[in-house]
């Protein structure tokens, strides 16, 4: 017996390496002039527009919609650099990674022409309306309803844990258009484009444990969606969703999120660390190099037109477990506190470690929990 898990080896083509240098130069310059603080992440439309102006959003999409018709590997390189630097990508990352490709593939023509070029320019922020109070990991249990009306649909219900809803211009929402059938409990859901400022929308903040406002509850009260906003086939969203997952889950965003605290740790410990610290650094670097190889391999397989769903889940499971454990490993390699005043490197390190420690719990929940991922891998092993 052999399993179908496969990670084709890959090397970045020359054009992607050249691009990597370009992105690094851009980020260095932006950071130097105070355009963003490396390692902080965050939300900045101004930064998004600059990235768009460089041609680094919608990179793989057709030129007809403003895209760059470049490769998945070039897109990979841009995303990876942004994350490793901790650049403020929140305004554009969802549209570029998920919502745009979804519209490109399933959206109606007039919507594509209207929306996609604006994502490419970095003007639009998207959010994803999947989870509901009673349907989290069990996404196909969604009950927020879209009911047919003249010229469109009327939506009622609630979405929850919606990141960036309070900043977003649009949501791609999974809505119930028919009841499930006895044969297929996933039947009856459809995807729609929702304008966040449409009448009847209410967005309530949910403050997370770091004290930040990132996710929200979104209430729909007779929100009208025109017919043109249906994305893909009616009642068939479950079929559309599967392919998207490989795109969502394989990206470098699934193992670099706590990387900035590691950089500050290496800086703080200096050029000649103790054996114990050197070993700790080496182990983390080994893991990072291995994860990058695997993640890049998935990007290469996507570029080759394959659909590496189980492989992507597997990389995300390994990657998120690593990035989650990293701050804790670093914590125990850090020097004991002293009564001396911290220097600038100490202070930067401490702040980065605090941030990474506090966000760690979400890393194995967002975008598919660890348990969901392991279920997908188990299916790939033929166990389900």
């Amino acid at each position: 017996m052999t399993f179908s898990f496969r990670f084709d080896p890959i090397s970045l083509p020359e054009e992607a390496k050249a691009l990597q240098e370009e992105v690094r130069a851009f980020l260095r310059e932006e950071a130097a002039r105070g355009g963003f603080t490396p390692g902080k992440g965050g939300f900045s439309r101004e930064f998004g527009r600059k990235v768009g102006a460089r041609g680094w959003l919608g990179m793989t999409w057709p030129k007809k919609y403003g895209g760059g018709e470049r490769s998945q590997l070039e897109r990979y390189v841009v995303t990876e650099e942004m994350l490793a630097w901790g650049a403020p990508t929140r305004s554009f990352s969802t549209g570029d990674r998920q919502s745009g490709p979804m519209l490109l593939r399933y959206g109606q023509e007039e919507i594509k022409e209207k929306i996609l070029p604006r994502i490419v320019r970095g003007e639009l922020c998207f959010c994803i309306g999947l989870s509901e109070p009673n349907s989290g990991s069990d996404v196909f249990a969604a009950s927020t309803r879209a009911k047919k009306t003249a010229g469109g649909w009327l939506v009622n219900g609630r979405k929850i844990w919606t990141s960036n809803a309070h900043e977003a211009d649009y949501m791609i929402a999974l809505l119930r258009t028919s009841p499930p059938t006895p044969e297929n409990r996933r039947h009856g859901l459809s995807q729609f484009l929702v304008e966040m400022r449409a009448p009847g929308m209410t967005i309530r903040p949910i403050i997370n444990l770091t004290g930040s406002h990132e996710f929200n509850e979104v209430v729909f009260d007779d929100v009208f969606l025109p017919d043109s906003h249906l994305v893909g086939d009616l009642d068939m969203a479950w079929k559309q969703a599967t392919d998207e997952l490989a795109f969502e889950r394989s990206g470098p965003d699934r193992w670099i999120e706590t990387f900035p605290c590691f950089v500050e740790f290496v800086r703080q410990r200096g050029a000649e660390p103790s054996e114990r610290v050197a070993e700790g650094i080496g182990r983390a670097v080994a893991e990072l190099m291995t994860l990058r190889r695997m993640s890049l391999s998935v990007a290469g397989m996507l570029q080759a037109g394959k659909s590496p769903i189980a492989e992507a889940a597997l990389v995300k499971d390994l990657g998120t477990n690593f990035e989650q454990a990293l701050p804790d490993k670093i914590r125990l390699l850090a020097p004991p506190l002293s009564d001396e005043d911290p220097d600038a490197n100490d202070a930067r390190f401490e702040e980065a470690l605090r941030h990474a420690t506090l966000i760690a719990p979400k890393l194995t929940i967002q975008g598919g929990t660890r348990e969901v991922l392991r279920g997908i891998i188990a299916r790939g092993l033929g166990l389900r």
Binding site: F7, A271, L314, L318, A378, L383
Partner: protein
């Protein structure tokens, strides 16, 4: 090498090992019975000297081919010095010494290990933990005389040998050289650690092959074994354990591929090799642990063949530098380059 020859080598290795390396052969080898048929067939196929050019008596295959064959050997827990003979051939070839026939091994095998060549050309020193030393008809080794470096070929006659065994029950012997006269000596430009790096890369291929097989064994076992009225593969906790095992197998496989590239030819890409041995070694340990948990008491018996691979995984992760050794080495390189070079360092290899 072209893809065609790759798959020919792979097919050849797979055919030979599936014919001649069943569980009973592995058990017999541990009991002290040399697997003559297996070894002879491997040798006749040219696989054992794959890395030796034809003009020096070998098969002249590419490094990738040899590594691919080692992965198959790991899968079958082949209880013969296949990796060691390949490595010896590569070492001899690097110094243009013709390769003799028969099983070989290499020395030194430990980090920091060193043998001395005296002014009159005799070998002095000790090399501990040499895999398959007592089965070898020749030993290819790396030695120094001051700043000069040499590749040396010796026969085991006249060497002191203290027998030992690995966790897998394979020979792991100490060799004592007291004025040994070599059969061949050639100066070399190779780095002191070239052999250590190649050995680590070879072990990683074997680890990857063994990991792939224990995943298959674990999935098969979970589907066959019924408890509480259903196959244990139906329990979510078992499924998740197997998913984690699959993750370790994939990481081990990525590490093996990275190591093979790092030692592909010319100078070794040391950081990449170091990272691979760290992560591959971790995968060996974590993977073996899950496979055993899934197999329950059955996998802890001598009768079940799971231990053919898990005991080798525990042995191989330790050889040619363990995780801690390579992690420390890697961490020092990273720290010396500084924090701002960290990301370019991680992304440099692909």
């Amino acid at each position: 090498m072209s893809e065609t020859s790759d798959s020919i080598i792979l097919d050849t290795a797979t055919r030979i090992l599936s014919d001649l390396c069943g569980p009973e052969v592995v058990n017999d080898a541990e009991a002290g019975k040399w697997p003559q048929a297996l070894w002879e067939t491997l040798e006749e196929s040219g696989l054992t000297l794959a890395w030796v050019p034809e003009e020096l008596g070998g098969a002249g295959a590419g490094t990738a081919d040899g590594f691919a064959a080692l992965r198959v050997a790991g899968r079958f827990a082949a209880p013969v010095p296949f990796a060691e003979t390949l490595l010896a051939g590569r070492l001899l070839a690097a110094a243009h010494i013709p390769a003799p026939s028969g099983a070989m091994t290499i020395a030194p095998a430990l980090p920091g290990g060193s043998l001395a060549l005296s002014p009159d050309g005799r070998l002095e020193g000790r090399a501990r933990r040499i895999p398959f030393a007592r089965s070898a008809r020749h030993i290819a080794l790396f030695a120094r005389r001051g700043d000069e470096r040499f590749v040396v070929l010796v026969a085991p006659e006249g060497l002191g040998l203290r027998a030992g065994t690995s966790l897998a029950g394979e020979p792991l012997d100490d060799l004592i050289f007291e004025g040994v006269i070599p059969k061949a000596i050639a100066e070399t430009a190779l780095d002191d650690e070239a052999l250590l790096a190649w050995g680590a890369a070879a072990r990683l291929q074997q680890i990857a092959g063994a990991l792939e097989r224990i995943l298959e064994q674990s999935v098969e076992y979970a589907q066959d074994r019924t408890q509480f009225g259903r196959p244990i593969a139906k329990f979510q906790v078992i499924q998740h354990n197997l998913a984690m095992l699959a993750g370790e197998v994939a990481a081990g496989s990525a590490a093996a591929a990275a190591a093979a590239e790092a030692c592909g030819g010319g100078e070794t890409a040391l950081p990449r090799l170091a990272a691979a041995k760290v992560r591959g070694g971790e995968a060996a340990g974590a993977g073996a642990a899950i496979a055993h948990q899934v197999h329950g008491a059955m996998g802890f018996t001598y009768e079940h063949s799971l231990h053919h691979r898990t005991r080798r995984l525990w042995a191989w992760r330790e050889e040619f530098g363990n995780e801690a050794f390579w992690a420390m080495r890697l961490g020092r390189i990273v720290a010396a380059q500084g924090a701002d070079a960290l990301w370019p360092f991680i992304t440099a290899e692909n």
